[in-house]
């Protein structure tokens, strides 16, 4: 029998005899006859080759080859071959949660190293072993802040990813939280507005750096004011930018989250991705998700285990810090391998190259009649432009010329129909950037 089942007809008979029943049907007697499926119209099984043909046909219906300037929190970075090679080892990808540490030191040590890398990137003291993705990590951070402060008001800056903000609202719809959102001013946090909203009932203020418009900022002043009122600061970050940018740890952020896709994961049409979370040591017991800790074994040898499990659902049930059961270990490993390959210098260089190329495009676009580049703040590898035409129209025309030109903002920000965000990674060559500029010029200056 194929389909990955090993039992032969003879073995089936032998096993049924041991069990003392005459057929496999006898094993299902608890399922009453009236529960028989009313329908089970699946296609007939096919060979591996036939399924490959079918899926290959679907792959061909995805038209790739657009030169991408798309970002929005998800970036087209190059993934070195060694990354995929390592995560394709069956010992990693066909294992499960390390419940038995003696036969899972590979996963456990890798997660410890991952946590350490996230701390190195963010400048924070402790990290968990990862969460589903950046969007859900932000929600977990907000809940964590509410648990720590025992307050229920959350202030969100308008520069935080609009999708993440929507996710947070969905999850808290049935709970008693109060939200306030402050629109950005000149592309960055409106300090005056945030100041007005912070009070002694506020659990947290949520910021993003670089923000959705690409602006980079130093939030130290906001953080200082928040802390004076006992308000925690949550910041969502883009990890590649931290090769250069001031870390949330240096600014005094309390909980850092982010989308780790840019650390060696493919774009994958939205997943699997990597949510990361780091915080101050004093908050570790309020943090959701798996945490790996160092200890020694009975012979005094250094080793790693899942720790502080008393926070988790399999022990605490309804009193747990979250309902999360697992992390995304393989994606965490993937980012760790990527960061190890790049190393201290490599990450810095990568960040600098992204910054240079984006700035080069930004300067070129400024020359075009009909484009206004928002210059009020420095940016990293993504920035906002406004145009003399509707951004969705422009993007549509750019697609015909072979470019995924950027993401129009009108969908999420009313009144910004002529705006789009444009991202440039190390993969975009000078030639591609220049032909992008040429194409956009033709569309706008017609």
């Amino acid at each position: 029998m194929a389909n990955y089942i090993a039992n032969t007809p003879q073995e089936i008979q032998d096993m049924l005899k041991v069990i003392g029943v005459s057929s496999i049907d006898d094993l299902f007697k608890d399922i009453k006859p009236e529960y028989q499926p009313q329908s089970f119209n699946l296609p007939e099984g096919r060979s591996e080759f036939e399924v490959f043909q079918k899926i290959n046909g679907l792959a061909a219906k995805n038209i790739s080859g657009l030169i991408s300037f798309m970002g929005g929190g998800y970036y087209d970075h190059y993934v070195p071959a060694a990354v995929l090679s390592i995560i394709s080892r069956g010992e990693f990808y066909t294992a499960y949660t390390p419940y038995q540490p003696e036969c899972a030191q590979g996963t456990l040590q890798a997660l410890y190293e991952y946590q350490s890398s996230i701390c190195a990137l963010t400048g924070m003291e402790v990290s968990n072993a990862s969460l589903y993705d950046g969007g859900t990590a932000l929600y977990e951070a907000a809940m964590m802040a509410a648990r720590i402060t025992k307050r229920n008001k959350i202030v969100m800056d308008g520069g935080v990813s609009p999708v993440s903000r929507k996710i947070l609202r969905t999850y808290t719809n049935n709970l008693h939280y109060e939200f306030a959102e402050t629109p950005v001013k000149h592309g960055r946090c409106d300090r005056e507005q945030i100041d007005k909203l912070l009070d002694k009932d506020t659990a947290a203020v949520i910021l993003q750096n670089p923000n959705f418009f690409g602006a980079i900022d130093n939030h130290s002043d906001i953080i200082e004011k928040a802390h004076a009122l006992g308000v925690l600061v949550i910041e969502s970050v883009y990890p590649v930018s931290l090769g250069l940018l001031k870390t949330p740890g240096e600014m005094g952020v309390d909980i850092v989250v982010g989308e780790g896709q840019s650390l060696g994961l493919s774009l994958n049409f939205g997943g699997p991705y990597l949510g990361f979370m780091a915080t101050k040591k004093k908050y570790i017991r309020k943090m959701p998700g798996r945490i790996v800790g160092e200890t020694v074994d009975q012979n005094g040898k250094r080793c790693f285990v899942n720790t502080l499990q008393a926070r988790e659902q399999h022990i605490r049930r309804e009193k747990a810090t979250s309902n999360i059961c697992t992390n995304v270990s393989l994606c965490a490993l993937q980012s760790l391998v990527y960061l190890s390959l790049l190393g201290k210098q490599g990450l810095k260089e990568l960040a600098q190259t992204n910054l240079n190329k984006a700035e080069f495009l930004r300067q070129q676009l400024e020359q075009i009649n009909g484009v206004e580049v928002k210059r009020s703040t420095p940016t990293f590898n993504e920035f906002t432009i406004s145009m003399s035409k509707d951004a969705s129209d422009v993007v549509e025309e750019m697609i015909d010329r072979g470019f995924a030109a950027g993401f129009p903002l009108g969908q999420y920000y009313k009144g910004m129909e002529n705006y789009m965000i444009v991202a440039v990674t190390e993969k975009r060559t000078r030639e591609e950037i220049e032909s992008y500029v040429k194409a956009l010029k033709e569309i706008l200056c017609r």
């Binding site: 529960y35 390592i86 059961c325």
Partner: protein
């Protein structure tokens, strides 16, 4: 083994970045820059490859060992599904592309995979609609319970409680709590099913619904499940099917036909996508017509001309529950698996999962106490009480198995069984693998009689043995850089 950071040598590089080929180098102002370089390791590519290859060799995995971890369905993950998941036409698609005007044209293949998976999973489970968005089983539970809450809100129902059996996974009560409900726990009866008389006492007009795993974590299919469904529905409560154990019943019954209103499917269990050392998985959620209006957005639909598109126009939807369309790479693997197995193959999966579990149950029942002495479904639960009276506990037997090159079963779960050992062989294991496991379990019992102290030094064959978990929790050390 030393950490990757401890292998670092100043000036060494493992990867060469593409050059910055533009004629400028931007200097950011100091107040926006980090004070010191990020202290990542400085290692060569070979250092990296060797380090992680060696780490991998310290893991037990399905590819290398029998892994009968109960409740986790550690079946073989076909290599073919990995191959399709790595096709660049799928991996290189930016998730915002279909949200551009005309952008859907460029992602028809991926959208079709999601669309067809909705049909396939609906047919397997008897539900009317599916969302592929939930990123894990527990995430599916939360999505399902939030839809239940939206249903009650829309009807003006005043509901307060979600009922879970004492045998449930911890995620069920945890999910109910974070979705804003209080949890009521009902005990099991002598046969391992929900105690129906006790359940009746808990059901009131304030019952929002019940979360039920079927077969449950005792490996028992409740033959009176229709009575439970009717009881909960009689107060306009909703039935949530935790699909953790769907691997037992495919082609034998469908939750939708029995009357369940919502279900999540753990594709990393039932549909053979890899567990990844603890994720990423995926937890698609199916619903019947009652809950359909509340499904999360976006939904993947087909226009009259056969074009697939994302529909956000559902005013009653609970909204966004994930950033995009789910763990696409995982859903694609499950899709390939279902297409290969087909109608008969999917049914065979459950038949053989149940056959294998009963074979182990029958052969070990004279040596270890069964929690429930009856035909089981895809897993069987033993208790090591007899062995523990000799000083050998379930955990000790687990360590013995590790020395025998076998991954231990789940121990100490379900919480309802003392010294529990939960064994799930899955359909992909051969009789000789199970026979060897059975022999090893019998030897462990013999050793518990002859030399129980011996267990405390196990495992002996692994790089480490019996970590001090108390020390780990007390002297919290979770970051290499905190030591420096």
């Amino acid at each position: 083994m030393s950490l990757i950071f401890e292998k670092s040598v100043e000036g060494r590089q493992g990867y060469r970045n593409p050059p910055s080929d533009v004629p400028l180098c931007v200097e950011l102002p100091d107040n926006l820059k980090r004070a010191t370089d990020c202290p990542l390791p400085e290692v060569s590519e070979l250092d990296v490859v060797r380090h992680f290859t060696r780490l991998s060799q310290q893991n037990y995995s399905v590819d290398t060992q029998f892994y009968p971890l109960g409740s986790c369905t550690m079946k073989y993950n076909p290599k073919f599904t990995e191959r399709v998941a790595q096709m660049p036409e799928f991996t290189d698609i930016h998730p915002l592309l279909p949200q551009l005007r005309q952008g859907e044209k460029f992602t028809q293949g991926s959208l079709q995979v999601l669309y067809e998976m909705e049909q396939l999973l609906s047919e397997i489970t008897g539900m009317d609609h599916f969302t592929m968005q939930p990123l894990a089983g527990a995430h599916g539970e939360l999505t399902g319970v939030m839809m239940m809450a939206a249903y009650h809100k829309a009807k003006g129902n005043k509901k307060k409680y979600i009922i879970v059996p004492d045998s449930s996974h911890g995620t069920n009560p945890a999910t109910s709590a974070i979705a804003g409900y209080e949890t009521l726990t009902v005990p099991s009866d002598a046969s391992g099913s929900v105690n129906f008389e006790e359940l009746k006492k808990h059901v009131t007009d304030e019952t929002a619904g019940m979360m039920l795993t079927s077969p449950n974590t005792h490996g028992v299919f409740n033959s009176d499940i229709d009575k439970i469904v009717d009881l909960i529905h009689s107060v306009d409560g909703l039935m949530y099917y935790d699909g953790a154990n769907l691997n037992a019943v495919m082609g034998r019954c469908r939750p939708g036909d029995i009357g369940f209103d919502a279900i999540h499917v753990n594709v990393h269990k039932t549909f053979a996508t890899p567990h990844g050392g603890g994720g990423p998985g995926a937890g698609p959620v199916g619903v019947n017509k009652k809950l359909e209006p509340f499904l999360p957005i976006s939904r993947v639909e087909m226009k009259a001309d056969g074009m697939f598109f994302l529909n956000y126009d559902y005013p009653d939807s609970i909204g966004y529950i994930a950033s995009f369309y789910g763990n696409f790479g995982i859903i694609l693997r499950a899709y390939a698996y279902i297409l290969m197995l087909g109608k008969q193959g999917i049914k065979d999966v459950s038949d053989h999962a149940v056959l294998n579990a009963n074979y182990i149950r029958e052969r070990l029942k004279s040596v270890y106490d069964l929690a429930y002495d009856r035909i089981c479904m895809h897993e069987c639960v033993f208790s090591a009480l007899k062995q523990s009276s000799r000083g050998v506990q379930a955990l000790d037997i687990a360590k013995y198995l590790i020395d025998q090159n076998i991954h231990p079963p789940t121990v100490y779960f379900p919480l309802t069984v003392k010294e529990a050992m939960m064994i799930e062989p899955t359909e992909t294991e051969s009789k000789e693998t199970m026979d060897r496991f059975i022999d090893v379990m019998i030897q462990a019992d013999k050793l518990s009689q002859s030399n129980p102290e011996e267990f405390h030094f196990m495992p002996r064959t692994m790089p480490i043995s019996r970590p001090d978990e108390t020390k780990a929790a007390r002297e919290i050390q979770t970051n290499y850089f905190n030591q420096l």
